[in-house]
């Protein structure tokens, strides 16, 4: 499953971040394997989405979220 397929309210753990020219920026923002991410809310048409990680909130597009492999945790 990727972060793109998640729904608001879910909590997931990052497994891997796919290759893209955004990869280093995503990692710099703290999206690295093992990080816990809560999915918060989404803009009118479901894109972009807002997530919470490392005590802060971040907005990103679904296309970019598709680069991030996650698995659901409790």
């Amino acid at each position: 499953m990727t972060l793109k397929d998640t729904k608001p309210g879910m909590t997931v753990r990052i497994d891997s971040v796919g290759e893209s020219n955004l990869k280093q920026r995503l990692m710099t923002m703290g999206l690295i394997p093992g990080t816990r991410v809560e999915v918060l809310n989404s803009a009118p048409l479901g894109d972009p989405i807002a997530i919470r990680l490392r005590s802060y909130n971040l907005a990103m597009r679904r296309d970019d979220a598709a680069q991030i492999e996650v698995s659901e945790v409790g």
């Binding site: 608001p8 955004l22 990869k23 280093q24 920026r25 995503l26 990692m27 710099t28 923002m29 703290g30 690295i32 394997p33 918060l40 809310n41 989404s42 803009a43 009118p44 048409l45 894109d47 972009p48 807002a50 919470r52 490392r54 005590s55 802060y56 909130n57 971040l58 907005a59 990103m60 597009r61 970019d64």
Partner: protein
């Protein structure tokens, strides 16, 4: 003894400028969203007989020079060796903030770690053991509440030559630096090396967090609760429209405009007649009387009337800016902005454009790609800056008295729509090869700091007044001269004046738009200098005929006089076309200069001038001819 130099660096939105302002008394712009400060700024203070120069830097997540702001910061550290570097850390968001801290330490930059926003950290149940943090880094740790002057000034006692001398990087840090060196020598690809280093930094952060920080598990924060309405699903759109409409009503209907009317009344019914009378009594030369009454008072007064309106508008904007809602607007608007080839983040500098285009054009530096920056710069001029407000308000009140506020609202909307449309055109034609991205930190909602809001609105209002007293004053004198003189000297008949010559030449291109009078042409030309000058020109040209007929009835305000003659000069439809043209055409001189500076190209500046004029010409043509077809006039 030379000044002690202290640089403030840190992630975006951590309170660097707030602290800078409290320390130096400066008025750097503060807002609750990332990317407010885009350039470095120096302020000097004296403390205990010692000069301290403080440098405010743009916020960055790293110093890899991937964006223009990162470039500013990394250049700064390459070219300067400040005596003290203070890393301003958002204590409530310490985990991600320490990433930059570690990167700075890898670069051999000794730091004071200043934990700002400890009030918020406390509220969120985050406890930071300062002693342990100091041991973990081997660097001094301080804390502040940025909005409290007392708390910030305590830093001044910390800023001494000797402060860093007892500190050196801890074993933890030197081990990390060795590790980074090994990764760099590992022979992996450049991208892989960078990724490994990033992971190593977060590993270290996790270690330090475990030692020095405890987070008591909190439930949903207020921000998340609010965002489930304000930034979630379709309801977010309704809230957004409602919020901006409310702001608009406050400025244009409830508070700003009524106050502006009072000022206008004072000018027209008290000041102008009093000045005219006393000049007449003192036997001042006729031309001088005309210059003062018909030139300066009519021209400058027409602009000053709007000060309360502008002030109220800024009060609202600056309040909204401090809440954190702007980042949500970017979030909500991203789908639309993306279809226009931009990113939602582009909304932030554009919103600044509702104040003034100049900071908005500079604010584009905070955007991620060259394409985003260029498009943002080129479409900013279509928005309704405060200088256009008097023009729109004057025409709306005169030609559409029953719907004035709605007409002005429509003009704002038109500006936004054209900006988005042109962004689309530019991104599919001129800048198509680049891609835009959207990755935006959503700051927590905050109650705006009232002092900041008032000061900012005051500064902007003052700026507007100063402009009225300088540029607009000078232009009023010039317009008066040009409209009262021709090659034979002073003339009674304005239609033979220099300005009539210039104006009628310009106005020939506006025949299809229905406003091809020389007065309108002259207003358009002077408006390129400063948009307020359109109103000044109208004030001078249409106010003057009637005043010189020596109407005894002083109750008849100059404004009504102006209204009758100006009212006769345009049909309502032509007036609407003129409003559309003024809303969209050329950025003012200052904005053009800023475009030149930011794009570093005369070519783009010229492009900005010509294409906005072309767009304005076509749009006003459509309004006028379309309106005629529909049977309006």
């Amino acid at each position: 003894m030379s000044a002690l130099s202290v640089a403030l660096t840190g992630n975006p939105n951590t309170g660097k400028s707030t602290i800078f302002n409290e320390l130096t008394g400066a008025r750097q712009k503060i807002g609750n969203w990332p990317g407010v400060t885009v350039d470095k700024k120096v302020g000097v203070i004296e403390h205990n007989g010692r000069k301290i120069s403080v440098i405010d830097l743009p916020g960055t997540y790293s110093i890899n020079a991937r964006s223009q702001e990162e470039q500013v910061v990394s250049d700064y550290f390459k070219e300067n060796k400040p005596d003290i570097v203070v890393n301003i850390i958002d204590a409530a968001n310490i985990a991600r903030n320490l990433f930059l801290t570690i990167q700075l330490m890898e670069n051999g930059i000794p730091l004071i770690l200043n934990l700002n926003m400890i009030d918020e950290a406390e509220r969120h149940g985050i406890k930071i053991d300062m002693k342990k943090l100091e041991d973990a880094f081997g660097m001094p740790v301080t804390n502040t509440v940025g909005r409290s002057n007392k708390s910030v000034r305590k830093l001044l006692d910390v800023f001494t030559n000797a402060v860093m001398s007892n500190y050196k990087p801890s074993k933890l840090i030197s081990e990390h630096i060795d590790k980074v060196h090994n990764i760099k020598r590992s022979g992996l690809s450049a991208a892989k090396i960078e990724e490994e280093i990033i992971s190593a930094r977060y590993d270290l952060i996790d270690k330090i967090m475990a030692q020095a920080v405890t987070v008591s598990a909190a439930g949903k924060t207020l921000t998340e609760k609010l965002d489930s309405f304000l930034a979630n699903g379709v309801s977010s759109l309704l809230f957004m429209v409602a919020i901006f409409y409310l702001m608009f009503q406050i400025a244009f209907n409830w508070i700003g405009q009524p106050l502006a009317d009072l000022v206008g009344e004072f000018f027209d019914e008290t000041l102008a007649p009093a000045v005219a009378e006393s000049m007449a009594e003192a036997g001042v030369a006729d031309w001088m009387q005309s210059l003062v009454s018909d030139g300066i008072i009519a021209g400058v007064g027409a602009v000053i009337n709007f000060v309360p309106l502008i002030f109220t508008l800024f009060l609202c904007l600056s309040f909204l800016d401090g809440t954190g809602y702007m980042a949500r607007v970017a979030f909500i608007m991203d789908p639309i902005m993306r279809r226009a080839g931009l990113s939602g983040k582009g909304i932030m500098p554009l919103i600044m454009g509702f104040g003034c285009g100049v900071p908005a054009i500079m604010g584009a530096r905070a955007l991620d790609t060259h394409k985003d920056r260029m498009i943002s710069i080129l479409v900013t001029p279509f928005l309704t800056c405060n200088a256009k407000v008097p023009v729109l308000m004057l025409f709306a009140a005169m030609f559409f008295p029953d719907n004035a506020a709605n007409i002005v609202f429509a003009m704002y909307f038109l500006g936004i729509a054209v900006a988005i449309l042109m962004a689309k055109v530019l991104s599919t034609t001129t800048f198509k090869e680049h891609q835009s991205t959207f990755l935006l930190e959503l700051p927590p909602y905050r109650l705006p700091d009232i002092k900041t809001v008032l000061l900012e609105a005051w500064e902007k209002g003052k700026g507007y007044l100063i402009k009225a007293g300088t540029i607009i004053f000078a232009m009023s004198v010039m317009i008066w001269f040009l409209s009262n003189f021709n090659s034979d000297g002073m003339t009674e008949d304005m239609d033979t004046s220099y300005l009539a010559g210039i104006g009628s030449a310009a106005s020939t291109v506006f025949a299809p738009q229905g406003f091809d009078t020389w007065e309108a042409g002259a207003a358009v030309v002077t408006g390129i200098m400063a948009k307020e000058a359109v109103v000044s020109t109208m004030g001078i040209l249409y106010g003057t005929d009637e005043l010189s007929t020596e109407d005894e009835d002083l109750e008849d305000s100059a404004n009504t006089l102006m209204a009758t003659s100006l009212g006769g000069a345009f049909t309502p439809l032509a007036a609407l076309a003129f409003m559309v043209f003024t809303q969209l055409y050329s950025p003012c001189m200052t904005a053009l200069g800023t475009i030149k500076k930011e794009t570093q190209s005369w070519k783009w500046m010229a492009f900005a001038f010509f294409y906005t004029c072309a767009v304005a010409w076509v749009a006003s043509l459509i309004v006028y001819q379309g309106g005629k077809l529909l049977g309006f006039e």
